[in-house]
Symmetry: C2
Subunit: 342 residues, 2 copies
Amino acid sequence: MKPTIYDVAERAGVSIATVSKVINDKADVGQKTKKRILKIIEEVGYHPSMVASALTGKHTHTIGLVIPDIANPFFAELARSVEDTGHANGYSVVICNTDNDPEKEVQYLWWLNQKKVDGVVLGTGMHNMKALKEFMEQNIPVVLVSRDIPTLSVSTVLVDDFRGGYVAAQHLLELNHRKALLLVGDLDNSSEQNRLKGFCAAFEEAETDKDNIKIIEGLMTTQQAAQAVKDALEKDSTVSSAFALTDFLAIGGIQGAREAGKNVPEHFSVVGFDDTFIAVLSYPPLTTISQPIVEMGEIVTQTLVDQIKGKKQSSRTIILTPDIKIRKTTANNTMSMQEPAQ
Amino acid sequence: MKPTIYDVAERAGVSIATVSKVINDKADVGQKTKKRILKIIEEVGYHPSMVASALTGKHTHTIGLVIPDIANPFFAELARSVEDTGHANGYSVVICNTDNDPEKEVQYLWWLNQKKVDGVVLGTGMHNMKALKEFMEQNIPVVLVSRDIPTLSVSTVLVDDFRGGYVAAQHLLELNHRKALLLVGDLDNSSEQNRLKGFCAAFEEAETDKDNIKIIEGLMTTQQAAQAVKDALEKDSTVSSAFALTDFLAIGGIQGAREAGKNVPEHFSVVGFDDTFIAVLSYPPLTTISQPIVEMGEIVTQTLVDQIKGKKQSSRTIILTPDIKIRKTTANNTMSMQEPAQ
DNA sequence: CTGAAAGCGCTAACAA
DNA sequence: TTGTTAGCGCTTTCAG
């Protein structure tokens, strides 16, 4: 059987208490005893059981990461960052894919509770607020990334979605685009709403006609986005640009424009959102609003860890500013340049 | 404080043993008592502690997933599949990103050992065999995906890499390509070696000159692949195709060809490997060798779970057959068609 | 500086 | 059908 603390203690001729102390690097152990015990630990290949220590010590050194889908590059990159900084702090992370399914959301929360994780990073919406509140009553620290839940006073790391949308619009406007398609997925989601609002705000400021913006929602896949853009372009070929609320949809937008006989960026400009690695794989490379994903992961995780370790800080909301990465899917609108000539 | 099994027992006027039995759905409990206890559990909001039960019951209901990098789409998709089937079987999964770093590999293994995970899915190479063997002596079941370690007798799920390479070559050959660039990352890796061997075998069978295949190795990024292809094409513009050992490299290949003034697929064909979602995002959509990632994840995980549950099956190696997905980056070689005319 | 002893919350015989 | 009891492997006062 695997050696336990007893085996080590026995072989070292000391009590388990002493062994425990050296394992945990407590001060009050003599140098010689410590050395001896360390040697024996090595010899017998002893690895302290974290589950036993969790039962006593109250810490599992595990955090839960709840997200819609790890196969989505945004969340994959986030997960990587969370795992890295968790690992650096001695925490392992268990992933929970909810698919935005309300049932799974509460199911995983329950589960994490039973597993007595030390904290959770919530990167998904919660449809069932009651369940979340119930969970939080268990005194397990929770932090939010990328999703805001205003009714909750927990630390949150967000990107300024409004600003992102605004900047996207500004860029398009500077390029003389006056008509745009808005490719959106799920409008339930506050992030998407804000991106959209920001975009519209800039267009309004530019005194653009309201129905120059055509919102297409419910787009779940690249293909759907492609189809939607193609259809829209066939209906109104004077639309010269699109703003997609994710890079996936943006790529769909490029494809759709192409299918409608428009080249990107010569005839049609598109800007995305996220700046996951796919933006740079895209052809042409995608102009997109860049979220500092790695940083977001680092900050939330560190915040969570601090909270777990009892550094009582008031909960705060950190809003990171997105950046526009101008690549090759946006260009000056040639159609509009001709207009003044008429 | 959170309610424990004692609180429930007390309130129900029974012993903790009885409560334990209803929690675990053991047979020998009276219907009325069971109902009553269940009700009380609900009332007090009792959630059994998995760490306590792990200490006794010997099961943590957790498995480790060790991979190079979850941000890589192949592993992200694999992870999703593993998590899904783990979840379906009552296991949560903790992710470990090794970056192919030997130190991290053993570090995580140690850690998983201390956490007393019930099993691990190993999807990364292990540089330190000794550490692996030591780990396995702890009697924690291990299964392998996507990486073969012939010296180990553990269940393994692989894709037939040789065949994949062979099929890729065949496809190119049918399209009259006689010269090919081989874009490879890390030749240490048995998968890549086999893909390469398969490819070469087909070219040999076609009695192609050996140096019609130019192997470019050490390619770690899309950019590097692009540069390599561009350089190669500038040196020898009669090369009409490339086989990339991953989709990432394939996309780099497309970019590089483009930079060298060759259009894909008109002037230059490329086939990739993996068929992650990026293949379909690519422009043109990538012809690639498709690995059944989801299935691989399901099979390994199920195998692991069965092993954990003690279904003693002899360890087996399951080799899945890859498929070629012909999309738009391969076309008939026009250069070679002219040759016979000369 | 070191050890004895009391749990942590639960499971699993074994009695009753 | 239900309860008693002995741990699981470790941490933590509190004495010595």
